[in-house]
């Protein structure tokens, strides 16, 4: 049976939940059927996946050096 069609706007609304694997199996199947044929939506998904992967990289937002040392000195100095 063919999946009930879903519009681009509906796909965008769910695309982040889809990445989180937080959609029902039925919705997932409809999204995937759409993504298979819609280059725009699959470009949005690929881009979002890339962005999420990039920001999760530990090199983004670096700690100032010596943070721990300064902290432990303060803890020692507490009355």
């Amino acid at each position: 049976m063919a999946e009930i069609e879903i519009s681009c706007v509906e796909v965008w609304r769910e695309i982040s939940n889809y990445l989180e694997q937080d959609v029902s199996p039925e919705l997932r199947a409809r999204l995937e059927a759409h993504l298979k044929v819609c280059t725009h939506c699959s470009a949005v998904l690929d881009g979002m996946r890339n962005v999420v992967g990039l920001v999760a990289d530990g090199r983004v937002i670096q700690m100032p050096e010596g943070f721990g040392k300064r902290l432990y000195k303060k803890i020692e100095e507490l009355p």
Partner: protein, 211 residues
């Protein structure tokens, strides 16, 4: 990155700190230093303010540790303290602003639709070795409105669950999901198709709208 001790190991460290062993506190929070700092900078944007708040939050956690009841994970508790300290600092810096005018109320985030349909090629993992690209990404995160930046930093930069993110920020899970969607779409539009266009495979999809 240092690995946090197991929950049991953490409970033991907490017991030792409460028993007067200050050194055990260092061991307890060492794995969370970056998490605390990143949370602070996600609210304050400025590295010097973020360091101040991160340090204050750690000291507060130390003095309040006996009140930690283990109802949430220690990391969630610590990040909640940090987030609240950062918000307080922000308000102190702008005393006439009770709430950021940029911040949407819950349930009023509105829709945001993608603007760029460039086809992205997979981004090589060494991309962020380059300072320039890393800074572009950090600037893009900074450019998000606070409500979206905070959700993205907790969930995507730090890997908190939707539920933990909702606890820390004090907003519902559906609100976290809506804001996360919007944050991710906006960040994607800001970055696409890369600094020099090198992240996109086919230019002809740019600026094309499917409706």
């Amino acid at each position: 990155m240092p690995q946090p001790p197991t929950a049991g190991g953490e409970a033991e460290l907490i017991r030792r700190v409460c028993g007067g062993e200050r050194e055990a506190f260092c061991e307890l929070v060492h794995p969370y230093e970056r998490m605390v700092y990143v949370t602070a900078i996600s609210v304050l944007k400025n590295p010097a303010d973020a360091e101040d708040v991160a340090q204050e939050a750690m000291l507060k956690a130390f003095t309040k540790l006996a009140s930690f009841r283990g109802e949430s994970r220690f990391s969630t508790w610590l990040i909640q303290i940090t987030y609240n300290e950062a918000k307080m600092k922000l308000r102190r810096g702008r005393p006439n602003l009770f709430e950021s005018i940029d911040d949407p109320k819950e349930g009023q985030d509105g829709d945001y639709w993608p603007r760029d349909f460039a086809d992205w090629r997979p981004i090589p993992s060494d991309t962020l070795e380059r300072d320039e690209e890393r800074r572009a990404l950090e600037n893009a995160i900074d450019s998000l409105q606070p409500a979206y930046r905070e959700v993205l930093v907790l969930r995507d930069v730090q890997g908190f669950s939707i539920e933990e993110t909702s606890t820390v920020l004090g907003v519902s899970k559906p609100t976290v999901k809506t804001r996360l969607l919007r944050a991710r779409l906006m960040l994607r539009d800001t970055l696409a198709p890369g600094l020099d266009g090198s992240w996109s495979r086919r230019q002809n999809y740019r600026k094309v709208r499917p409706w």
